[in-house]
């Protein structure tokens, strides 16, 4: 009998909050959802907050004088303050609502990058980035001639920090842009140390927190991030809303990206002036219901405690890696458990990742297969695709055990 570590919080109560986890997959087997790195499931509290808005105070924000608009505005702006507290930003004006992580990065590229960089300047990304932190910079490169360079990784799946310092010394790096946590390797990158080195070299740092905001306590001031981006839907909130955090002095100097309603101070037929932060960057009617759901998600995570969520995931990661190591022919990528988030990208010898994922799905287990929007990393790892099991606060050790048994089944089937 395998012994499970003790849960840090009441796992049964948490699971009760997520209606989707109680359904049967293919009407036959209990659903085991191991794809939270792609998108997390949502608790009743979030679903009901959205429904409550649509049923009782649905209206546009910032415009109306009527009571519904006031209530909607109050709720929408209240979420901005919740986000501020969640990441310990200095001001609510540093919180820009976006559609998600990708939009935040593109906004920085197209406003800060396009206006303050010149041909030959270097954007320094990393080999382990999601495409959302590579392609926006390649687009910028085509537009204005900046050069994109990449910090390499070491064989254990961590960044080569010696190479990082060397690249900073030898090149005119103006922005370091790095994932806080890799969506494939799970590697937790030392972004606060990297920020010190970036700033010493005269560069800014953008932190892609898509995979860290859901899983560990975030403090933008402790990291000293100039920009930080993340998405609601990976942290038990709805899709269609995310955050760009930026230091106020920098955001104030940046021109708007999209033009439209809500982002202006005055408009004449000859020209316009811009609204104050954060509205300068929020053209058009925002995702109001989604923001309100996002606020409920932040409340949900905060009530449990991000420190507890992180501690539980560290236990889960250690257990997961230990169990996976028992299965012959399975190779897991990324560093050891204490340097890693609860995600395991793996290959099964003699089996393609898609076939593995299909067979696991038949067992009720939802995993992702492919390159996980990180093709350069997979090229570096020397594989075309991996299967990825990613865990979140509602996953159990029993589910790990089912995964392990299912992997044996996969091997028997494909043999």
């Amino acid at each position: 009998m395998i012994t499970h570590p003790t849960y840090i919080y009441d796992i049964a109560a948490i699971r009760e909050d997520f209606p989707i986890l109680h359904q049967y997959h293919h009407d036959a087997v209990p659903l085991i959802y191991l794809d939270s790195a792609a998108s997390s499931q949502k608790p009743y509290q979030v679903i009901e907050a959205i429904q409550h808005y649509y049923q009782t105070y649905n209206a546009n924000v910032h415009r109306g004088i009527h009571k519904l608009s006031e209530e909607a505005t109050q709720a929408y702006e209240g979420v901005r303050k919740k986000v501020r507290n969640f990441i310990n930003a200095g001001s609510r004006r540093e919180i820009i609502f976006t559609r998600g992580t990708t939009e935040g990065t593109n906004l920085v590229a197209q406003t800060w990058g396009r206006n303050f960089l010149k041909p030959g300047d270097v954007i320094l990304s990393t080999v382990m980035e999601h495409h959302a932190n590579i392609v926006p910079w390649q687009l910028l490169s085509e537009q204005i001639g900046v050069k994109v360079m990449y910090i390499p990784i070491l064989p254990n799946g961590t960044l080569d920090l010696a190479a990082y310092e060397r690249i900073l010394r030898e090149n005119p790096v103006k922005l370091v842009t790095v994932a806080h946590v890799s969506n494939v390797l799970g590697t937790i990158n030392p972004v606060a140390d990297m920020a010190v080195k970036a700033h010493d070299a005269g560069a800014l740092i953008l932190v892609d927190a898509a995979q860290s905001a859901p899983h560990l306590p975030l403090d933008v001031q402790a990291i000293d991030a100039d920009f930080l981006v993340f998405s609601s839907h990976k942290m038990v909130g709805p899709t269609g809303i995310g955050v760009l955090y930026g230091k106020r002095d920098i955001l104030e100097k940046m021109p708007p990206w999209m033009g439209g309603g809500d982002m202006i101070a005055t408009v004449t037929l000859e020209g316009s002036t811009w609204n104050d932060l954060p509205y300068k960057f929020e053209a058009g009617t925002p995702s109001i219901a989604e923001a309100i759901g996002f606020g409920a998600a932040i409340d949900y995570l905060s009530a449990i405690g991000m420190d507890k969520i992180h501690a539980q995931e560290q236990q889960m990661t250690a257990y997961l890696l230990e169990r996976l190591s028992e299965v012959p022919g399975v190779t897991v990528f990324g560093p050891e458990a204490d340097k890693k988030s609860a995600v395991a990208a793996f290959v099964v010898e003699g089996a393609h990742a898609h076939d593995v994922a299909q067979l696991l799905d038949a067992e009720g287990i939802a995993v992702r297969a492919g390159h996980h929007c990180a093709m350069p990393l997979h090229t570096e790892l020397g594989v075309s695709a991996t299967s990825r099991a990613s865990f979140y606060l509602y996953n159990t050790y029993d589910e790990v055990d089912v995964l392990i048994e299912a992997l044996y089944t996969v091997q028997r089937t494909l043999r």
């Binding site: 004088i65 006031e70 932060l277």
Partner: protein, 133 residues
């Protein structure tokens, strides 16, 4: 009649005190409320001791924003500019004297915003507006 339009507010809104721009002046600043298009411009004549001697407003907007400007202008005459820039936003809201929802608070505070942004800059106003450290 609705509290929002009690007599004193209507009086100040319809017969704004100190209306009309001063020329010459040694303080001139304009701000907008982008939510509803209200516009307010404030000119002041300040003497060598830093005392506000004359006030001149111009602009247009809702009864709340215009009344608030009129009421604030009356207070400013004879006040050292340094003290005027420290007027607490709650005092303005108290003088309006009726509960305001968050979109209307912006109307009520537009006059103080013109004064503070003109005297101390936008960042200082945002700090006051946000109640942030």
């Amino acid at each position: 009649m609705h509290d929002l339009y009690r007599e004193i507010i209507l009086d100040h809104a319809q017969n704004g005190r100190n209306w009309g721009l001063l020329e010459p002046n040694n303080f001139d600043h304009e701000e907008h409320n982008p939510l509803c298009g209200d516009r307010l411009r404030l000119t002041l004549r300040i003497d060598d001791d830093g005392i506000i001697q004359e006030v001149g407003w111009d602009g247009n907007g809702c009864a709340i924003s215009q009344a608030s400007a009129s009421m604030l202008g009356e207070r400013l005459i004879g006040m050292p500019l340094q003290n005027a820039l420290k007027i607490d936003k709650q005092e303005i809201l108290d003088e309006i004297g009726i509960p305001l929802t968050i979109n209307r608070v912006k109307c009520a505070l537009l006059s103080l915003k013109v004064l503070v942004v003109g005297g101390l800059g936008k960042r200082e106003w945002e700090r006051i507006e946000d109640d942030e450290d």
